[in-house]
Symmetry: C2
């Protein structure tokens, strides 16, 4: 750097901002919440209006009321985001039974296939430094971990933060620092299930701010995948936020995440790199309404929640933010998907997507920068079954299912307080010959199927049939990765356990076909 330039750049932040802007691809931050519902944001009508930072992010960016996950459950949703492909293609599903939600508990044998190409692997072509902070959920065995799949750094955990466990029966979930464990939940990383107190969001916030500072200082383009899990049961918040929300503990967690997001955006501004950073906020699936009012968020006016292919299960809060590039205070009616974050990130980074496989994600650049509208369907999958499809305002259900009578009669309710006869069915109901069709503009709550006698029904049915036939004809399912379970593969002895003296002895291998009840 010349003396003159050094002198001019007395304001380091300005300097970084300018050079980063002129030389590198834009930074990319994907903020993925865990089980947060569409209705949990003030801007999406949560009555307590306790997300001022997300509401401000919206006012400064673009809101997507029609944004979807690729699966109503965490692992497949996250695999889809990072591969740009439907779980039925990338293998994050099961064939053990029909239409079952499968994920990656620690007894799962599988994980993300070596054949899949993840977003951070591709971003390497443009010298991006990639970090994941928080929940991975694409497999916890060594070959499946983030640093084997393109990420340069990681602080977080491979599985959900369930526990505490008795380590002799079931190991507590490890927390990794890059490729080695640095402790376990409920041991080095406290979560007080009784009080709901944990500092994890603060840890993840600090880690994010530090990473951003470091890359800005080094003038390297970065990809930050910020995936905190405070809104997933058992929900938690740090002391400063506990008891502060009108909504209880779940709301405390939302408030802390909202505050953290505000700090991250402010940090970008303070570093002067906000005009060179795309930030996208969304969630992995609908609110887990089966968990009751203390451990679950809100899906606003939508039907049911997590685990289901009704709107409450798959429509997600979504905000894009890039000052100077994305017009402030705009609403896009684009049908979007978490898989689009793969394609859009590649596009803004100037990297071509793989041409040897089907990519389901769309490049949303024309939407973000020109508020264009791109024609595309949304497919709603549950395991190996395409349950529903949306084209335009219309959604056609080919299969309906909430959860089984057995579960329901035990008090497990995927649609508490809601019941639409013939729609929220407790047995898997096939409607392939005559799908249930809803107009989501007129009827966002999926309460009024359009009469099969109407011209509207026949017209939509014809259009949707063509879309579905094309989709299914071209579909080559990937090898299912979520079929086998084995207690021996649990997190007994993760890499780095020796150094910490935290290795546990696994039992004999005794694999079985995982039981996915819903």
């Amino acid at each position: 750097m010349s003396l003159l330039k050094t002198v001019i750049c007395v304001l380091w932040a300005v300097c970084v901002g300018q050079t980063a802007g002129s030389q590198n691809g834009p930074n990319i931050i994907i903020m993925l919440m865990d089980d947060m519902g569409w209705g949990d944001l003030g801007v999406f009508g949560e009555p307590s209006k306790e997300t001022p930072n997300l509401d401000l992010m919206t006012a400064q960016g673009m809101l997507f009321p029609n944004f979807y996950t690729a699966n109503p459950l965490c692992s497949p949703s996250r695999a889809a985001l990072l591969t740009g492909r439907l779980p039925v293609r990338n293998g994050f599903y099961t064939t053990n039974a029909h239409a079952r939600n499968a994920y990656t508990p620690q007894e799962i044998v599988g994980g993300i296939s070596q054949d899949e190409i993840l977003l951070p692997e591709l971003l390497k072509k443009k010298d991006y430094v990639s970090k994941i902070i928080g929940k991975w959920h694409l497999g916890h065995r060594t070959q499946y971990l983030p640093l084997k799949h393109g990420f340069d750094e990681w602080l977080g955990s491979p599985n959900c933060h369930f526990g505490p466990y008795n380590n002799s029966v079931r190991p507590n979930i490890p927390v990794y620092n890059n490729s080695e464990m640095t402790g376990r939940y409920y041991e080095e990383f406290e979560i007080n299930v009784k009080t709901g107190e944990s500092n994890l969001t603060q840890i993840y916030l600090k880690e994010g701010l530090d990473f951003i500072s470091q890359q800005a200082m080094a003038q390297r383009p970065f990809f930050l995948y910020w995936a905190p899990d405070a809104t997933h049961a058992p929900v938690y918040a740090s002391e400063r936020f506990l008891g502060k929300s009108q909504r209880g503990r779940y709301g405390d967690a939302v408030m802390e995440l909202d505050d953290s997001i505000g700090q991250i955006l402010a940090h970008l501004v303070s570093l002067g790199i906000q005009n060179n950073t795309l930030v996208f906020f969304t969630s992995d699936n609908g609110a887990a309404v089966m968990s009751g009012p203390h451990q679950s968020g809100s899906n606003g006016p939508f039907l049911c929640g997590k685990e289901t292919t009704f709107e409450g299960g798959m429509r997600e809060p979504a905000i894009a933010w890039w000052p100077g590039r994305i017009p402030a205070g705009t609403v896009s009616y684009q049908l979007g998907s978490v898989m689009d974050l793969f394609s859009t990130s590649l596009s803004v980074a100037g990297v071509l997507p793989p041409d040897d496989r089907v990519i389901d994600g769309l490049d949303l650049s024309p939407v973000l920068f020109n508020n264009s509208l791109l024609d595309r369907p949304i497919f709603y999958y549950r395991g190996n079954q395409m349950m529903a499809v949306r084209i335009g305002q219309y959604k056609a259900h080919y299969w309906t299912w909430s959860n089984s009578w057995e579960e329901f009669n035990m008090g497990i309710n995927f649609c508490p307080g809601q019941e639409v006869p013939g729609v929220t069915t407790h047995t898997p109901e096939e409607h392939t010959m005559q799908p249930l069709i809803f107009h989501l503009g007129h009827d966002p709550g999926e309460r009024y199927p359009i009469s099969v006698q109407s011209k509207e029904y026949r017209d939509v049915h014809r259009q949707v049939t063509a879309v579905v036939e094309k989709h299914l004809k071209d579909l080559i399912p990937g090898m299912p990765q979520l079929n086998m379970c084995d207690l021996a593969v649990m997190n007994w002895s993760p890499p780095g356990c020796e150094r910490l003296g935290k290795c546990l002895k696994p039992p004999q291998s005794n694999p079985w076909k995982c039981d996915w009840p819903h």
Copy 2:
């Protein structure tokens, strides 16, 4: 006006704004929507986000997520707004049966009592000119009309715009211009029930803009009660808006009202009187969800709708706007009521409320100007029965009822798609000894009654019991005005019908006790 002053005031608008601001009480505009639900505004999470003007009004004003009507039905709600008193006090209820919603169809004999003092009567003390535009609904017989109760001007109708009727059996509803009819719905004032086209909102908009201009020109303080009815079934919109919404005809009506509200606010600004005008937007009751997706709005995440005392029936969208006085972009968690508009309007106008009767409205000035929080309960009435009460975040149901099995089995559903066992009951269920208690922050959808075994329940029950006992002990119900019906009192020959040649011959008087089925 001196020559000098005339010269200075080359900009008439600026001139008006300054003098109006310095000499008179502030102008007051109450915008009362008809059957619009809490969830119908973008800012309250309507997924189509089609209310840019109301959302902007929110950004420039104060949002009230906890604002209530005094009754889940139009007439009692409107009587409460204008008297500052619960319907059970001001007589807008029935004793024909228990807990029945009663209103003012054109066969009603009664109306607003001569003993009640309405807001515009009181504002006369400070020389306010008062106009109602739109729906009155406080009785259609001559002695009950607006110009007999303090309003100086009126364009609108005394009843709902149902029809068209065969005038030999049932007269079409008249539209008044001040104290005389100027035509009838479906005759001079077209509403095409088939296409949904009507220019009424445009007529009401123009009338509002003209009234504002005239008063500003004359430098008189004014009270405008703007009460359009486009979102009440049969919903309508003018040609420019028909088919424009993603939500169908109901959404078209909302878009036109939103556009009109934007024009009214812009008009205040263009006249330079925005800093001297309090504007309050709200609705008369929850969305009429029993009317299905084409004629009904949304109550967002709340339970049931119009006619019920669940949150969907009584929580209303509410925005206060007064640039320079009410801080922009604020949210107030105050428990508010339409009755507060009476007390608050008097307060800002500098008029004392009547001291010879109970006033249920609160003066919200400290809330509007300082974002204070005032402690107060909300009572949820259905006819002569206090069904529920809210204190702080807690709501206690003393009675629950959606609608009767008879109606429900005929397909009339007050809670479509929703069912909470033991809560959305189809017979009136008394819980007086052990009310159902909900925490509306944790559980805005009223799905999870708090366990009666818990300390939380006992604590809340104690507090709520004291509030209810005090309320009922002091309550002196007014003379019920909505008990008697008679075909002879219908709008056969309203004042002014002779001039128009539109008088119809009434049948013999044959009064009966009105039947209020729910």
